[in-house]
Symmetry: C2
Subunit: 345 residues, 2 copies
DNA sequence: TTGAAAGCGCTAACAT
DNA sequence: ATGTTAGCGCTTTCAA
């Protein structure tokens, strides 16, 4: 590999001249002739700056890491897209790690940031994540952004309009004529779960509908959790006619469990979920969802991290430039007994 | 951040002693007392070796990159899992990039490897990828492994048992009694598409069944491609009663197109796909698939890349320790007219 | 067994 | 406008 020195020698100038030209800072005053010479030499040698040397010298790697609990989660995939695009366009490369990879969370972060492998970290907490991570992150002072989180801590956070999305989903069911609507939520300690629950309650209250506590589950966002939630709801003496699923993965579990239990969707039970995924129109039946601006959240997270790395104060951002949108498919319909009447009023 | 020098000073020894202890090479002979002193100092200062300095000195980053055409593809997600686990357990961090990120493929790779950001690259070619990439990769001499590829080129490759999987899928349909079986394949220049086609033909020939060329499409692996393929097959005077989809994403498109066209699955048309994804049991109807060892392929790819980085010759690996397995769900059934008879012989 | 010292390739302050 | 030079933090001869 050619080095700066090689280029300098070939061009017949000093290394600092080459460095100045290549990092073309506006303050660097170089004659056109020299610049020309250098560019020619760079071309001829196929010179590429050495990443490690540069990183060592500048104490900056221009790399960031994103830590997610689950690489196969389609919701995170949407997020990743935005993160990736925004990161690369700002000159960052993206390092990816699954949580519990190799070592517990705080060690991982300490290693990544402490060894100077990355300039900052994007962190999507999982249900299983030990919450002390956040404390140790705060303590470490490393530039980091918590994704899908909105909490008053001295780390940056970005979150979606969860409450609004849940209210929209709930309202859609109310508009269809449902009065018995359940909420299949996330873990109670998860702050998105809290906000989505709040949105559900807001919409229900506004419509004057009851929300008995046994109609709200707090099990989690996975397909398995969704299955468990349906089980629990169906063990109740009275069943809801519709469900708001706080997460699309849970909704998919719900769908599978309903199929196995012989519950017809949407005839007997309507389901609407928060988060849209690309295969939502191929589930059985195609799932009605509220699409969230995940790509945009990825972009916002990188922007925030970039600022933080540059020395900015931690901020708490809500991604609201693009509103949630209801995508009506075939998993929602008027409640049993009212269909015909409503369809042909 | 504490440096080696800080540790040395605190321990009252030289930096070289510290370096030797921390990189604990077997040849390094250090007294127990010194070692003890050093460890204590490391502990006290919370020392972490600087990544850039080490990389500069050793001309090794212990990072690898994986380039995929599409971050949201669930098939690649399965692969990523294996790659990630295997990489971290060997001490590599994983850098991820979507193809066309920022710049065309060869530049990207040149930058990643040429600047010494990573020690090697894992590359999943996409349908849209310019094939000159491979040439320029070969020419560059950078350690790289082509995933899902089996070609006689001086770069390592790893591939699955595509032919076998396609034959299994086809045989499943034959066993159900189908005689008119179509193949919805990938692009002809894609070598997995060729192998899957071959498997289909093998099974069909062995059963003495006809494979008219118009019953084999070569459009591509995406859901859209799947929709287009169904369209084309249904424009034919005679329809197949079953389809082997060379890729699960295409199969999902097929499912959607069938639903929209009012074709009942599996009653009128059976569909089986290659590659299983986690939501395959929630599609409408749940999709019969042939599951491939994607995780294992990721592990194999990292192993091969690691060897290559260590100076080994490029090898061409087939991932066959774990055979493909047929996962029968509800998208396949005996052909129309034969169901009752076969179910109750 | 331990230490001194020479760089790895680059940037930036300083000198010319 | 251009060149010289001192490190960034680490590994690794070489000497003691």
């Amino acid at each position: 590999m050619a080095t700066l020195g090689d280029v300098a020698k070939l061009a017949g100038v000093s290394v600092s001249a080459v460095s100045r030209v290549l990092s073309n800072s506006p303050t660097a005053r170089v004659s056109d002739r020299t610049r020309e010479l250098i560019h020619r030499a760079v071309e001829e040698l196929g010179y590429q700056p050495n990443f490690a040397a540069r990183a060592l010298r500048r104490a900056r790697t221009n790399a960031i890491a994103i830590l997610v609990p689950d690489l196969t989660n389609a919701v995170f995939a949407g997020l990743m897209l935005g993160v990736n695009d925004a990161a690369w366009s700002r000159g960052y490369t993206v390092l990816i790690a699954r949580e519990e990879t190799l070592e517990p969370h705080p060690e991982l972060i300490r290693r990544l940031v402490g060894e100077g492998r990355v300039d900052g970290v994007l962190l999507q907490l999982g249900d299983a994540t030990d919450m002390t991570v956040v404390d140790s992150l705060v303590e470490s002072g490393a530039p980091a952004i918590l994704i899908n989180t909105m909490r008053d801590i001295p780390i940056g956070t970005v979150a979606l309009e969860d409450e609004r999305a849940a209210a929209m989903a709930t309202q859609h069911l109310i508009d269809l004529g449902h009065r018995h609507i359940a909420m299949v939520g996330g873990l109670a300690r998860n702050d998105t779960a809290q906000r989505r629950s709040a949105g559900y309650h807001t919409a229900m209250n506004a419509a004057g509908l009851a929300t008995p506590p046994e109609w709200e589950t707090w099990i989690g966002y996975t397909p398995d959790n969704g299955r468990a939630a349906l089980q629990r709801l169906w063990d109740l003496p009275e069943h809801p006619t519709a469900i708001v699923a706080a997460n699309v993965n849970g909704a998919i579990g719900l769908l599978g469990a309903a199929r196995r239990a012989g519950i017809r969707i949407p005839d007997e039970l309507s389901i609407v979920s928060i988060h849209d995924v690309w295969f939502a129109d191929s589930t059985g039946p195609p799932l009605t969802t509220v699409r969230m601006p995940l790509y945009q959240m990825g972009v916002t997270a990188i922007t925030a991290l970039h600022e933080r790395i540059g020395g900015g104060e931690p901020r708490h951002e809500r991604v609201d430039a693009e509103p949630p949108v209801l995508v009506v498919r075939e998993s929602t319909a008027p409640p049993p007994g009212t269909r015909r009447a409503r369809r042909h009023p």
